[in-house]
């Protein structure tokens, strides 16, 4: 396809010409009065939905509307980790689809998302966790997803700075390793999908806030926005922490509460951590970016919030735990901490598909783990929008599961947070 013009060759040509040949990565069109599909939310999931809607389902008369700037929500605030070591087959299928799509994404959308499959290590601190890890390894094998348990010596080789000594508050017996897990440059996912969707004809409309809906016969006929009224045949929603507000405007309720999830980085230091590590003992996860910053995250803040500002006790918990795990990190300096608003549902599994409004479809509930699922979330919501029926992989993730209590609770099954 002609729009795939990012390459070393074009960089060299551009350099020779003063870099004046580069086009807009995506346009900023005025919204039209009517679209086949309006997607609300310019984060990773919304942008991926737009892209797959155009690419896979051939629907291109699409507007993606975003309150602020694309990728400005959780897509641009997360700790950039990806993995697919989920146990329930239905979860494994979704997250593994996401990881597989990520694996081919840079070339698919001609944008370097810097997928770095450096390996995801879940430390094992005690016998109970070891049994849980064994169960997980066995279950993943049944699901056809890679993952293995490595012993403490291998862990020490991979993480030479890890505190495995006698003074460690959390002893290390080994780790669960998913080699395909790793990190991705988060902004690149948003920008790459935006550019690709734009090139396929999708209108990306930023600074366009939803103010309400006009409904008729149980269907939404148009979206009232800060940039005017936009008519639509179908509507897709992918707004993570703000899902309840959209649902409110459309007249239904969701089992969602919005909470702050914090993340933080240190000042950049020379490479010292080559993998992504999570300690179930503390709930803290760490990786080191290409720029050398240590990126850390941990548990949710205590209370419901749309504040996008974290609270210090959580920072203290995360930093203290990171230093307990890696005593040398005491010397690194915390440079910045921030928060995103995540959409927490009772079983920490996504909600994808039909809402009580006939032509509105939703993708939410990813909680703390939405980034790693972006391509799959987009693909599955696009399918719902195109076919008005759930994608086979999304059947168990409908909103109706909260009526039968058939939850997909990975964390509960694992006995540890995920």
């Amino acid at each position: 396809m002609t729009w795939k013009d990012y390459s070393l060759g074009s960089l060299l040509r551009g350099a020779a010409g003063g870099n004046r040949h580069w086009r807009q990565a995506w346009r900023s069109p005025e919204p039209k009065s009517h679209y086949d599909v309006v997607i609300i939310g310019g984060g990773g999931h919304g942008l991926a939905t737009a892209y797959y809607l155009a690419k896979t389902y051939g629907i291109t008369n699409v507007a993606l509307i975003e309150k602020g700037w694309i990728g400005g929500g959780n897509t641009g605030r997360n700790t950039t980790n990806v993995r697919s070591d989920y146990m329930f087959p239905e979860s494994a299928a979704v997250y593994d689809l996401a990881l597989s799509l990520y694996e081919g994404l840079a070339r698919d959308i001609n944008f370097n998302i810097m997928l770095s499959q450096r390996g995801w290590l879940t430390l094992i601190h005690n016998q109970h966790q070891m049994e849980a890890a064994q169960h997980k390894a066995n279950w993943l094998a049944c699901n056809g997803v890679d993952g293995e348990i490595i012993d403490v010596h291998s862990v020490q080789r991979m993480l030479p700075l890890l505190n495995t000594g006698p003074g460690a508050r959390y002893p290390v017996l080994g780790a669960f390793l998913q080699k395909r897990g790793g990190t991705i440059r988060h902004d690149a996912v948003a920008w790459g999908f935006a550019r690709a969707a734009d090139r396929l004809g999708v209108d990306i409309v930023q600074n366009c806030e939803v103010l309400g809906f006009e409904q008729s016969g149980g269907r939404i006929t148009s979206v009232t926005t800060s940039r005017g009224r936009i008519g639509c045949r179908k509507i897709g929603v992918a707004v993570a922490g703000h899902s309840s507000m959209i649902a409110d405007m459309a007249g239904f309720r969701l089992p969602v509460t919005s909470r702050c999830l914090q993340a933080m980085v240190s000042e950049p230091i020379k490479p010292i951590l080559d993998h992504v590590v999570i300690s179930p003992g503390t709930g803290v996860y760490i990786n080191q970016t290409q720029k050398g910053e240590l990126v850390m995250g941990g548990v949710l803040d205590l209370y419901q919030s749309y504040g996008q500002r974290g609270t210090f006790p959580t920072i203290e918990k995360v930093v203290t735990s990171a230093v307990e795990m890696f005593p040398a990190f005491a010397q690194a300096r915390l440079m910045r901490h921030w928060a995103g608003i995540v959409d927490i549902v009772p079983d920490s599994s996504p909600i994808i598909g039909q809402t009580p409004v006939a032509n509105m479809f939703i993708n939410c509930g990813w909680g703390t783990g939405g980034f790693k699922a972006i391509p799959a979330g987009g693909m599955l919501l696009a399918h719902s929008l195109a076919k008005e029926a759930p994608h086979p992989l999304a059947e168990k993730f409908g909103l109706d599961r909260f009526r039968s209590n058939r939850l997909v609770d990975e964390g509960a099954a694992a006995g540890i947070a995920h």
């Binding site: 551009g14 086009r23 049944c142 003074g167 050398g292 500002r309 921030w338 009772p346 099954a413």
Partner: protein
């Protein structure tokens, strides 16, 4: 090292102590400075010009500032107490023997081979990496990129700095000890209010330490001393110097980092959490750079930094200093330089002469001023050699070794930003200011954009008065002082110069972001301020955009025809200045990281060779005294229980007294079994559910007497269950006459189990009848054993005759000792967790959290009959009639026996007809062990439709291999319960 045309020490001046020389080293060279120097001022005084290299193009970098705004001077620093892998030289106070090393440039900042990257600078423009390195795989390129990034290497040396936590409450927190903060604090002092004044420098005074100011005709330093003395005279005033207010949070909570230094370095760090009713933000402002071609050469420095170098440290940055400004504060720099004997060939003002209020003063001190002029370019690679000045009709080249620039001022309002304040751009002063301060805050002085000291002092007095009247305290009326100093005047910014190549104009010196990169970002539609920042990495370095942000977004505003307010700033995120992670972690390492909980008989377990593990409590997993290794010891412990008697410390088991007329009814609302019908002396096992129908906890409830129950939740849930009871009592059933009292730690519970358990109990001389026909299984007695108050429950987790003896915890050690010592002939053994869990597995009792998971209901573990019998309601019951609980896919608890091979917990049970993975699976082995009593490998499993599949043979996948197993009843041992009823 280098010639004197670089920096040098002035013969006089500064507040350094010239009597106290301090020796230190830089990249192995031994240098000298003075007490009172920062590492930056000492290095400049020693003529160090190139301090590092930029990130992308490895351009030579010199000191651009003297404090934390400096994007360039990251160094590794070691003092007597600790090591900083990378810190700005301006943030380090010189100490004896300090060692500093470069962290950028290889082999040295002076000569860096990677500077060759500059040749490819057109290719390496903004975001170039998003457009390439996709084939075959980013992982191929990543290692090269990673190796080139980062400042400094962590080392493994343990810091000797002392760490403390401090928590404090104040009426007023004054942040900044300059003229504004000092004035506000001085006026609030002696009012009875508790005031905390913090300043990040070791010496109070702020800009008064270096600006030419006098108060009532005397030098500012005297006013500072007088003010500080007055503050110190008030016991309610706490002055924290070398203390950075690092972050502001809700409810006016702050974190502060206080450094306590001696002549050898930073000896201690105190991490403060401070909450204040009122806040005075008096953090001042910093100069910003001007954009022009080749504005990044070493030798170019912010004007305010030049004045500070001269005034505070007695250091000249160069012997021949050009000044470039778009506002009146540049004149202050020129005049200060002249006074210090520095040659100032020219002052270049972008504005017309009419605007320059200090032009005459500058010319009087011998400075030639040119107006309506710009610097078009500079020359010199590792050090500035000359600048080209373009006037309205002239172009001249000025030879100089230094260039002081002032492109306007940036108030330091980051802390307000932490609270969600959106700064507003004020056109007239060309700066972002706080319009709506957080509740209780007063922003004053430079932080409020004040450009004249008189205004600053008035703002400080007004803030103090407002706080005083707010709090209703008497306030000393501060005497008006007459201030003699030069105003910063006015500004007319010109963001993008109309001459010079944009690809040579640096906006971000650390990350090598140039105007041409912003051009490219604008062309590619990365025009939102956050996109701009992320795409170009503008302001994302360790300086967090202190010098680059405003210029960057002003340029973007120009490129996209928007106002600066429309572009907006990026959000200020805490901390204000990077904080060592070790400072935050402080002393919370090892055992202090998370409290450990110890059993009351801990010392005895240690004496017995107990291998302690953290099960929420430190509990013996097995005892070395029972065997050489875990397996043999565990087997010996199991055999002891099955054949004679074992002694197990179950003290961590929860104990909650539930009392009052409605206690039984209350408990029956939680448990699946009806506890209201329990008679005094009776004990009943059951499970409790959350409202979604999932098992939350299990355990026994004992009825100790009328209206008096003792609930026994699991060790791990003891506190959660007590909280759960209390929450329901308070929030849903406030009229029930019931009290909930968790008393777990008060009682030590030692279980004795085995055929000889009764004999062993008898040796404790209980003062009640323990004969089997009187004290039966599932009964409880209160009385005395071994002469102390005791509660004894006859319950069984092991399948054997078992008593759980509870005594006040102070007797735990003695009880355990007595049981093991008095048991002669009965050969009692101490039994650890592992043996205990295997014994119950043989019996088929569930272990909560192993054999149940977060989706297991009582219907899944064979308690459906009990649920069906309950007519009244209990928590979670309604959910058991939802589709999920009764569906065909439920996993139900069964036993499994290996047919050859060894079972392991976690093995997946494959769907029938499947023998290799990947394939569908239908459940898993929840617990497994080799049973010495049965001589085979057994386990429990949660299996889809398990109840109807007993007897079926299944394949279990575990650790890469498949073994065959038979599904059975969960009870492997003594199905008739003869043993526990003996």
């Amino acid at each position: 090292m280098t010639s004197a045309k670089h920096g040098y020490r002035l013969a006089a001046g500064g507040v350094i102590d010239r009597q106290r020389a301090v020796s230190f080293s830089y990249n192995g060279d031994h240098l000298r400075g003075y007490a009172g120097d920062t590492l930056a001022s000492a290095l400049i005084a020693n003529g160090v010009g190139v301090i590092g290299r930029s990130f992308k193009y490895h351009r030579p970098r010199g000191f651009y500032g003297t404090g934390m705004e400096d994007p360039n001077s990251m160094l590794a620093v070691r003092d007597a107490y600790g090591f900083e892998p990378a810190i700005r030289a301006g943030q380090v106070r010189l100490s004896e023997g300090l060692e500093a090393c470069s962290v950028t440039g290889w082999p040295s900042p002076e000569f860096d081979v990677a500077a060759i990257a500059q040749l490819a600078s057109n290719v390496l423009g903004a975001g170039f990496y998003y457009k390439t390195m996709m084939w075959p795989n980013w992982r191929l390129f990543e290692p090269f990129i990673r190796r080139s990034t980062g400042f400094g290497r962590l080392d493994s040396a343990i810091s000797r700095r002392e760490m403390h936590h401090r928590h404090e409450v104040a009426d007023v927190l004054v942040i900044g000890g300059g003229p504004a903060g000092l004035t506000a604090a001085r006026q609030l002092a002696h009012s009875g209010l508790k005031i905390v004044l913090v300043d990040d420098q070791p010496r109070l005074g702020g800009a008064l330490l270096w600006e030419a100011v006098s108060f009532d005709g005397v030098p500012a330093s005297e006013w500072v001393d007088r003010t500080v003395d007055a503050l110190k005279a008030d016991a309610n005033v706490t002055i924290l110097t070398s203390t950075m207010a690092t972050a502001a949070y809700e409810d006016n909570a702050f974190t502060l980092v206080e450094q306590r230094a001696d002549e050898h370095g930073v000896r201690a760090e105190h991490h403060w959490k401070l909450r204040a009713a009122n806040v005075v933000l008096a953090t001042g402002m910093v100069d910003r750079p001007l954009l022009f071609a080749d504005n990044d050469r070493p030798g170019i420095m912010l004007g305010s930094s030049v004045r500070r170098l001269i005034g505070e440290f007695g250091v000249a940055p160069a012997d021949r200093l050009t000044v470039y400004t778009n506002n009146d504060s540049g004149y202050l720099t020129a005049i200060a330089a002249r006074k210090a004997g520095i040659d100032v060939p020219v002052l270049v003002d972008t504005r017309p002469q009419g605007q320059a209020i200090h032009a005459a003063a500058a010319e009087q001190s011998g400075v030639r001023c040119v107006f309506d002029s710009q610097i078009e370019g500079t020359s010199g690679y590792k050090h500035l050699k000359a600048v080209t000045v373009r006037g309205s009709s002239t172009v001249e080249s000025i030879r100089c070794s230094g260039l002081a620039v002032s492109g306007g001022w940036t108030p330091l309002i980051q802390l307000a930003g932490h609270r969600g304040v959106k700064p507003v751009y004020q056109e007239r002063e060309s700066m972002f200011v706080v319009r709506a301060a957080p509740p209780g805050w007063h922003v004053i002085g430079g932080a409020a954009g004040s450009l004249h000291l008189t205004t600053t002092l008035a703002q400080a007095r007004a803030a103090a008065s407002a706080i005083g009247s707010d709090r209703g305290v008497p306030m000393e009326q501060g005497a008006d002082v007459s201030v003699d100093c030069m105003s910063y005047g006015s500004i007319s910014p010109q963001w993008i110069p109309d001459c010079g190549a944009r690809s040579r104009m640096w906006v971000d010196f650390q990350n090598d972001v140039k105007v041409s990169d912003l051009d490219l970002a604008a062309r590619e539609n990365y025009v939102s301020v956050e996109h701009l920042k992320r795409y170009t990495t503008l302001g994302m370095g360790t300086d967090q955009g202190r010098t680059s942000n405003i210029n960057g977004l002003a340029v973007m505003a120009g490129l996209t025809d928007r106002t600066i307010n429309a572009v907006g700033t990026t959000t200020f995120r805490p901390p204000y200045s990077a904080v060592r992670m070790g400072t935050i972690a402080n002393r919370r390492d090892g055992d202090l990281h998370q409290p450990r909980r110890y059993l009351p008989a801990h010392a005895i377990h240690e004496k017995l060779g107990g291998v302690l593990e953290d099960f929420g409590w430190e509990r013996p997993d097995w005892y070395r005294s029972n065997g050489a290794d875990r397996e043999s010891a565990v087997e010996a412990e199991m055999v002891a229980v099955r054949n004679h008697v074992g002694v197990f410390d179950g003290s961590s088991l929860g104990k909650i007294e539930v009392t009052g007329p409605d206690a039984g009814l209350f408990l029956s609302r939680f448990y699946v079994s009806n506890m209201a019908t329990l008679k005094p002396g009776g004990v009943r096992y059951s499970v409790m559910l959350k409202e979604d129908g999932v098992i939350f906890d299990d355990g026994v409830v004992a009825c100790l007497g009328p209206n008096h129950f003792l609930a026994g939740p699991t060790s791990g849930n003891a506190e959660a269950v007590a909280g759960w009871f209390e929450q329901w009592r308070q929030t849903e059933w406030p009229t029930m006459r019931v009290a909930v009292a968790p008393v777990t730690a008060n009682w030590a519970s030692i279980a004795i189990a085995g055929p000889c358990a009764r004999d062993l109990l008898a040796r404790l001389e209980p003062d009640f009848d323990i004969s089997p026909e009187v004290f039966r299984h599932m009964q409880v007695r209160e009385g005395h054993v071994a002469g102390v108050p005791a509660r004894v429950a006859r319950v069984s987790f092991t399948g054997e005759l078992q008593y759980e003896v509870s005594v006040p915890s102070r007797y735990a050690a003695s009880l355990l000792n007595t049981l093991l010592e008095r048991g002669s002939g009965l050969t009692p053994r101490a039994v650890g967790m592992e043996a205990w869990l295997r014994l119950r597995l043989e019996k088929g009792y569930i272990h909560l959290g192993s054999d149940t998971n977060g989706r297991t209901t009582p219907l899944d573990i064979g308690m459906g009959g009990i649920v069906a019998k309950r007519k009244d309601d209990f928590l979670g019951k309604r959910s058991l009639s939802l589709a999920f609980a009764t569906s065909e896919e439920r996993e139900q608890l069964v036993g499994v026996e290996a047919i050859g091979g060894t079972l392991q917990a976690g093995g997946r049970i494959l769907a029938s007809g499947h023998e290799r993975t990947p394939c569908p699976s239908e459940g898993y082995i929840t617990s497994a062990c080799f049973s010495p009593s049965l001589g085979k490998s057994i386990g429990l499993a949660l299996v889809v439709r398990g109840n109807e599949r007993k007897g079926e043979t299944v394949s279990v996948f575990s650790d890469g291999s498949i073994i065959r197993c038979r599904l059975t009843s969960p009870t492997f041992y003594d199905a008739e319960n003869k043993r526990l009823n003996t």
